[in-house]
Each structure stands twice: as C-alpha cells, then as structure tokens.
Amino acid sequence: MAQLADVEETLKRIEAHKGVIGTVVVNAEGIPIRTSLDNSSAVQYAGLLQDLTMRARSSVRDMDPQNDLTFLRIRSKKHEIMVSPENNFLLIVIQNPCE
C-alpha cells in the first residue's frame, strides 16, 4: 500500500508536468479527497466524472463480462480529462494537450 508521502509526491509530480491544469482524487463516495483545483470545481468534476466512469465501465462489461475499464480519456476543445479508476477511487487529471 502506498505511503501517504509517496502519493503526495506522485500527485505533485503530475501537477508539475507541463500542461497539467489540475488533479482530483475521488473516493468511493464520489467525494474529492485531494485536489489542486478549487473546492467547487473539484466537487463538480468528481461527481460528473464518477457518473461517466461508471457508465463507461458498465458499457465495457456489457460488451464483455470478462473485460474491465482501465482508463478513460475525454478530449474536448479546451482541454483533456484523463480518468484512472482503481479500487473504487478515481484519479482525475485535467491537462492542456500539447500540440
């Protein structure tokens, strides 16, 4: 199990990456437990993306019950949202993709 310091270090490393706008770690209840965004944005991202991730996961399982979602990338005009689900948690990273 990762130590809290390791987690913190990893998140800081991600946040320092060029183009990264912010990160949100979401727990199983859909609550952001750590974020580099302001609170209300974090709550909004957490809720919406937990919903979408659940839908993506059930789509994958409906297509093949032996399969499972490992990653989700949502690209939009303004930025890209990456969602990494793990053990009912979500790691959300929002970045400006490099041209």
Binding site: L49, A56, S59, D64, N67, L69, F71, R73, I74
Partner: protein, 111 residues
Amino acid sequence: MHHSSCAEVEETLKRIQSQKGVQGIIIVNSEGIPIKSTLDNSSTVQYSALLHQLLMKARSTVRDIDPQNDLTFLRVRSKKNEIMIAPGHSASLLTNTLLLFTLAEKLKNIS
C-alpha cells in the same frame, strides 16, 4: 468541406481496418443507428447502442462543466482493448460518429 464519395469512405475504412491491431469499425449516425460496420450484426447492434449512450453522456459531462466547451474525442481503454470514439457534429456535414475498436497495445499509425 466536401462530402466524401462512397468509394472514398470505403477506401478510408479499408485503410483503417488494415492497420495492425484494429479489431473493427462502426459508423453510427446522429441517432446512434449503425450505418456501416466491419463487425458481425449482433455485436454491431449492441456496441452501437451502448457506445452512443456513452458518447451522449460524455458530451453532456463536458458541457455541464463548461457550456462553451464541446467533446472532440473519447477513448475508452480496457484490459483487452481500446475503443476510440470520434463524435459527429450536427452542425457540419460530418454528422456521423466513428467507433474504432483496437487491441489494447499502442498503435503508432492511427492519428
């Protein structure tokens, strides 16, 4: 922006389909109805319905966060494969959505 001819569309699909790792391609219209597919019928019907719904949800997620923003691409990666979804745009001639199914290894040639 010109309308691709039937032959050009066919040729593009063949080119994509021949890329290493590509498992299948489905083109769905704005209602989520598959209009072209390289997969078998029942998979096509099932996947189109599921992924069209997912696309709609992803699009509204993006707009809920920022009404001025819009979804341009969606990649669903799983243990076995990766699904790339290029949504159509109702405002342009490119109204159809492309669903691309590939193996979960990196593809170098798909842009």
